[in-house]
Structure formats: C-alpha cells, structure tokens
Amino acid sequence: MIRRLVAKELTELRRDGRVLGSLVILLLLGMGAGFSAWQQARVQHQAWHAASDGEHERWLGQEAKHPHSAAHYGVYAFRPPGPLAAFDPGLSPYLPVTVWMEAHRQNEALYRPAQDSGSAGGFIPLSPAIIVGTLLPLLLLLLAAPMISGERERGTLRQLLAQGVRPERIVLGKGLALAVLLLLLLLPLWLLAFAALLMTGAQGDVLLRWLLTGLAALLFLGGFAVFCLLVSACCRQTRTALLLLLGIWAFGTLVAPRGVMEWAEARHPTPSALDFRQAIDGGLADGAERERRIQARAKALLRQYGLDDLDDLPVNFNAVRLQEGEEHGNRVFDAVFGELHDGYLAQERWLQGAGWMAPFLAFQALSSGLAGSDLLHFRDFVDSAEAHRRMIQKAMNDAIYLQPETDGRRYVAAPELWATIPTFDYRPLATADVMAFYGPGWTALIAWFVVPLLALMAVSRRLAP
C-alpha cells in the first residue's frame, strides 16, 4: 500500500510540468554553483600553496645574520581554504587570510578575500550550501504544502479515508515520496561536490566531514519536510498552508539570521578596534613583571655559575631578556586576543542556540563548521600561527643564548639556522573538536526533526477529511 501511495505521488509530481521545471532548474543551479565553488576552491588552494612555498623560500633565502634580525625579518602565515570550502565558503571571504609573524608582537590577521572581489562582493555567493539551506527548503515547501491540505480541499482525502485507508499511512506515503524526491535531488549534488573536493586535494578528514555534512543536510531538510507536512495536515486550505510556510521560511532564512546576529552581538559584545589596541599597548607597556622576572633569571644564572657579573656568563644573557620580553608579550596577547576570540565564539554558540527558533541557523553553523570556513577554524588558524611565531622566537633566542657576545662581537648565525624552522603547515581542527563545539547546533537540528515528526504522527492519526 505504501509503495502505491509513494508511486502515485511521484507520478503526479513527474507529470506536473511546473515541478519538473523547478527540479531541473534547481539541479542546474546546484551543478553550476558546485562547479563555480570547486573552481574557486581550486584557485584558492593553488594560491595558498604558491604563497606558502614562496614565503618559506624567502625565509630560507636569508643571508647570515643575527638571529634576532631574522626574527624581525619575519614570515607570513597563510590560511588555507577549509576542507569543504567548495561546498560552503561560509565566513571565509570575510575573514583575513594572512598573519605577519615577527618578533615581540602578535599581529592581527589581514587581507579579507571579499576586499578584492570588487562590486561582485556585494552579492551573496550561490554556493551549494546556500542552495541546500535556502532554495531546497523553498522547493520542499511548494511541494509539501498542498500534499495533505490539497487532498482535503479537493475532497480526495474523504474518498481515500472512505476506502478504509488508515490516515497515518496516507501521511507516511506523502512523507516517503518527499524523501525519495529529496534524495534524488541531494545525491547528485552531494556526489558531485565530493568528487570536486577530492580533485582539489583538500586536507583533513574530509570524508568524515562530508558524511556529517550530508547527515546535517538530511536532518535539516527532512525536518523541514516533516514540518511542512504537519502544517499541510493542519490546514483546511492549501493557500493557508502555503502562506504560513512561506512566512516561516522567510523568517527563518531572511529575518532570523540578521536579527539573531545582532542579538548575539548585544549579548556577547566584543571590544572595539580602539579598545583592543589600547589593551595590547597598555599591557605591553606595563613591564614591571617582565623586569622582575629578568632580575630573578639573572640572579639564578649568576648563582648557577658562581659569578658576579652578567658579562662573564658563558651564555648570552640578552637572549634571556629577549625571551622574557616575548613571554611577557605572550601573556598580554593571550589575554587580549583570547577575550576577542572568546567573544566571537560565544556569539557563534548563541547563533547555534537560536537554531531552536530557526533550523536554518543551526544548519548554516554546522555546514560552515564542517566546511572549516567558520570562526572556530579561524581562531584555530590564528592560534596556530601564533604558536608558530612563538616557536620561531624561541628558536632564535635559544640560538642567541648559546653564543655569548665577547669582545663586543655580535653573533652572526649561518643560514642553516633558518632551515631548522619548519614551514607553517596549518592543519584544520579534528572533526571530534568541531563536533564538540557544534553540539547545540546538532541538538537543535535533531529536535527540529523529531518534534515535528512526533506531532505529525499524532495529527495523522486523527486526520479528518
């Protein structure tokens, strides 16, 4: 019986030229968006490889010099595109891609790709994630709204029930027909994007991330389809169901994201650029603690070697001063940058939490999180770059430490020292860490699937003509 119900629904949809046209348009859009995103990701990967390799070559190409000069010579860290950025560019175009790593200072990341996109930057990019998140629900809504209310309005529901068909079976048939249609639409997009990802040589546990992205999309779209059927089952007229669902769709995809973002910013404010810089400058200027530590290190070293004068030490005490200066700066940067990034992540969590209100927000957060194009990955990149910067400074200072400057001669390191510094090779977060951060988003999506499903089951048992 269920097979008959599903087959009839699919036959009707197939014979409806409007539905077929919409599906073809959506499929073409999806393929176009997928191809464009793949091209973009490929170009970004190539640019990232070229920039990273070039930068390391530049570092290795330094002549013999004092290691602290090399530390000031500095090096750029480049943020690679996220593992699934071809599917969901997320915040990537609006987040900086480089960090200048040099002695004494953690610099803010620079250069947002959106700055280079000219007037095209004003348009929302039509990524596969946008199609899945906004256009597919719209199509589902148009298909599902008349499914039960239309049967009731036409009078066919009355005839079906009079035939002795159990109402929950009718609803199940409708739901399965939608599910088949959804899979027919999603699978080609999903496989196409996966092939594109493999071709771009994306790094990280891409397969697991992609499976989870598929699961998130299924939960989101499945939940939305069930919700549409629920509204359709409760409305006497298709027009009412359609208007109600269109309103909910518009609120969820157009109004809620903006409103919730402003709400999140008000709830978890981040410091202004001026306050941020003042906090760093103020922290760095307060050197009392640094001086106390330097004095303590000096006393300890003099005691260790049984000497009275720092100039007589068999090590270079300037390296200690430099490293203590770095450590002092690091504490300031950890506090000030930490506060800024914690604020951004708190806003991100707030957005996920709002997924209870609008599942699109939860899907968007999960999709960009799994794509590696979100704030969580950006912070991880910034932290990784900063760890790399500190490693360089430590290596340079350690090299200085072992070379006491006697007779006023300054130590000059051979270029071999530069080769001891590895390339900055950013690896995206482990999927388990991403999943842990996006727990509220998953919970919201699962709730959006389960609650309407339970409600639909209850309503369908009492479905009246």
Partner: protein
C-alpha cells in the same frame, strides 16, 4: 441461514442517532434499518441530515448519542473496520487530474483492498459504470463532471463491499448515464449489496429504491414503499412532509 432470513437481516442499522452542530440539531434520534440486498433512498431538503448520516456511517464524525452499525460492526467503536464493509460514492467525485481514469481506479482500489485485482476486471468496472473505453486512459483533467462521477462509481463497484453509501450519485450525470447507474444499482442489489442513497431526485429514488425515507430536520417523517405510490403522489407526499415540518404554507 436461509436466503430469506439473510434478506431480512438489517445490514445497515441506525438506532436513536443524534448529532448537534452548535445550535443546529442535525439528527434527532434517527432510527433506520436497511435489510441486506435492498436499496434505501433517503429523501430530504438541504440540511435535513442526510450527509450527516452518511458521515457518521463512514466514521468521519461521531454521533452525540445512538448507535450505527454496518454489517454488524459498531461504527463508533471500530470505524476503520466498518469502512472495510463500505463502498462510497460522494456527490462530487474528486480524482487526481494528472492520472487517467483507469489509474485513479487502480490507485483507489489498490489502497482500499488487500487483494490485487486484474486490470481487465477494473476496466470492466469502468465499462459497467458507463465510461467509454477510449476515455479510460485519458487524464482526468480533461473529464467532464459526469465522467468523473462514472469513475467514482467504478471505484465503488470494484470494491465489492457488502454496503454501498451514495451521496447524490446522479448529480451531474446526463440522463443516459443516470439510467445506466440505476441499472447498475439494481444489479448490485440483486447481488446482495445493501445501499443507502441520500438524494433529492425523487424520480431516480422511486426507480431504484426498495424503500424511501423522508428525512426532515433530522427526523424520519415517513417511510414509503415506492411500489405502492406513483411518481406524482410521491412528490406530493414529500412536499407535504417537508412543508409541514418546516412550517411552510402550501
């Protein structure tokens, strides 16, 4: 059980059926019995309670009081089981416009029956209902109201249920199709199918029914054996009952 005993047994039984919608008393203690293999025509003006009676029998609405039994099954207690005993022809048969008449029949019949029916038998039902062979495989979107009604009749015929409920079945049918329907109904009655037909059509009721009940304001005012009255007399008695019950001056 002997055949005569079976024929006397009531397959459709309504006892003290009451139903109120807000201020309107739709049924006021309706008692009705339809023996097996007979056709009962329920005549009455709009709002008399004919469709409410059918809706209660179909389990779509619950009666406030009273009992309704279909083939021995209490409708209130087990509406799903009762529906398996019923074939139903609504006043306006609604079909899926993108499916052909045959596909609609196949779909409705397939859902309502656990046994697969050969396509040839389903086509026979369409022919028996009066749908031309050439129209069976055309999409219903191009059908007239009468053609849709014929598919509805075919759906009911294919169901082979012991009870048939008909709500204004000849509505929208041309005289030829209405005549064919009446023949089909008479044939079904001979096969033992019990029918309850709500109608305004006195002429058709007299032609096909073995008993006629005049329902006004939810009460059965009079039961008539159509064999005992001529057409004009039936009309006169009907109008008299209606006008009396509604307090209208003749």
């Amino acid at each position: 059980m002997g055949e005569s005993e079976y024929l006397n047994e009531s397959v459709l039984e309504l006892i003290g059926l009451r139903k109120r919608f807000g201020d309107h008393q739709a049924l006021e203690g309706l008692d009705l019995k339809v023996p097996a293999g007979s056709c009962y025509a329920l005549l009455g003006p709009n709002g008399a309670g004919k469709t409410t009676t059918l809706n209660i029998l179909l389990g779509f609405i619950e009666a406030d009081a009273g009992t309704a039994r279909v083939d021995g099954v209490d409708v209130q207690a087990n509406p799903a089981k009762a529906r398996t005993r019923i074939a139903y022809i609504p006043e306006q048969v609604q079909l899926y416009p993108r499916l052909s008449g045959f596909e609609n029949l196949e779909y409705f019949h397939g859902l309502g029956s656990s046994e697969a029916e050969p396509a040839a038998r389903l086509r026979d039902c369409l022919n028996q209902a009066g749908l031309a062979e050439g129209d069976c495989d055309r999409r219903v979107a191009g059908y007239s109201k009468g053609m849709r009604q014929k598919v509805g009749i075919a759906i009911a015929l294919a169901r082979r249920a012991p009870v048939m409920l008909l709500d204004e079945p000849t509505s929208g049918l041309d005289p030829q199709a209405a005549w064919e329907l009446n023949n089909s109904l008479r044939s079904l009655a001979k096969q033992g199918v019990t029918m309850l037909m709500a109608t305004h059509d006195l002429f058709r009721a007299r032609e096909v029914a073995s008993r006629i009940g005049i329902l006004v304001n939810g009460c059965l005012q009079q039961e008539i054996d159509p064999a005992e009255v001529a057409g004009p007399e039936l009309e006169a008695r009907y109008l008299q009952e209606v006008q009396q019950a509604l307090g209208v001056q003749a």
